[in-house]
Amino acid sequence: MSNAAMWIALIVFSLLLVYLGYLGNRSTSNTMEDFVLGSRKLNKLPAFFTVTATLFSAFSYFGITGQFYTNGIGAWIQVATTAAVGPIIYFAGTRIWLVARRYGLVNITEYLSDRYASRAVGLVAGLIVIVALVPYMGAQFRGSGLTLEAVTEGGIPYWAGAVFLAVVVTLYVMSGGFRSVVWTDVVQGAMMYVLLAVAMLILVFTQTGGFTELMDTVGEQSELLSNPGGDGLFSLQYLVSVLVIFAAAHFTMPQLQQRWMAARSHSTLKFIAISLPVGTALVYICCFYIAMVGVATRPGFPNPESIYPAMIMEVLPQWLLLLAILAIIAATGSTANSIVLTLSSIVAKEHVRPVMERRGSTGAALDRSLTLTTRVMLPLLVGGGLLVAFFGPQSIIGIIVAITWPAVFLIFPTLLAGLYWRRATAAGAVVSMVVSEVLFISLDQGWLPVPLGGWHPAMLAAVVGVLLLVVVSLATRPPAREHVDRHFALFEEPATTGARS
């Protein structure tokens, strides 16, 4: 592909995103609630696109296609995890939606600090998500750099592709915060769905003659088309582990949490719970057929995760390839933008606010200062992501990206206990998170040689975390009853609430 065409497409695309950022800026005020959550006015359709665009990075659908190619239809388990998060969004999500609205909370760590009446809980949770998500964001910039370098055969160097995405994301997120993120996600999400579907149809019909012919060809390798899948990967333990870990992690992931908190109404929250698996299923169906085209036409492909970009580069006409590449860049951008906004708000609320409060800043002035801090933190965190993309050894980035979701999953027991168990204490929460994370990393890296019998190491770590949360909570003093009532009175009958107060 010619460099000039790619650069022109990138510039036009980035101008569109920055313009959407500018539109977001026009209706954004200098309050945290507005900059970080769009004043909690997220409607249904934008919610669908921003949630799914945030969830799926380019790596996701490269990885999904690669897994279908290698292991067959067992990869569908991930669609089940997004369906299984539905009841969690309804029950736990409604609680956090109400509490966050009542007390003006804008992210998960602020909720945890408030609920447990302890800065330590928010700090530990914040540290875990920052360590897990900055490399995850860096991986998006790396993806942009590698993709553009590959399709232009080095015409756009790796560093330019990575910096391009980082600068564009920073510009539009700084400009309009959450509103800009949502509107660019609508465009980027729509591109992702449409171009993935178009690419799938073109690949199926030009490479194999149609769906029936494709199934006839692949049917000879029946293991890939049979439940639970090939290579013995999808054992019962694996399927249960993935179902539990990812359903809980989808709910806990801080950038997705902000979308539950930002829902305009309870009806929007319910819509998200129902529409999320629909969007996921659409992506997975496309990836399944794309992978099967790969199986039929390119057996033994050395790097299955590259099968999708490799095929579209050979098959799509240039103008459509250009759009497909933009869709890949859009998918990386729509994941990075949400992460950086969420992390900035966490740093402002958990790390900067206490300092400002000690200096006597309060009320609207404090809120304005925190909004400014969130804006200033955006390029700094993006810079951190770029450093990871340039200097992080690929093996280490690979490990961190692989453990991001399980690491966030291990915050889930603390979050759930905060929402449902009055007796949960800050000491229990901190011990649970720290010990389960350390145990998980030790098991995952093989530093602790414990036979797991096919279970994911995060499952054992979570069991230990829950036990510690219960035992330490029962052994320590809970926050004052009046404080805990702030969180639970909302969910009790008015008569009961009156009796308590």
């Binding site: 569908w76 009841p87 029946s222 049979s226 439940n227 009806s267």
Partner: protein, 84 residues
């Protein structure tokens, strides 16, 4: 009653997901385009979405709490904002 039904249905659906049927055969290929196991999993997702919709719209155990909160917020803000 609703709680018991929701629990039983949830456990049943989760079990069907992790112990998928039919196993170890791609046959039949439904309409020549979808292998039976994938079709079964698509039906599973549709069933689970129906289950979540039943929780959200038919049972809706948080309806009264949300309504009370919305009324309270509307009272505070002079009858504006906050939709259910």
């Amino acid at each position: 009653m609703h709680r018991t039904i929701a629990l039983i249905l949830g456990v049943l659906l989760a079990a069907l997901m992790v112990y998928p049927w039919p196993e170890h055969t791609p046959e039949p290929i439904i309409l020549g385009v979808i292998p039976a196991p994938l079709f079964a999993w698509i039906v599973w997702v549709a069933a689970f979405i129906a289950y979540v919709a039943w929780i959200c719209y038919r049972w809706d155990p948080y309806a009264a709490i949300v309504q009370r909160f919305v009324d309270e917020q509307a009272g505070r803000s002079g009858g504006q904002e906050v939709q259910r």
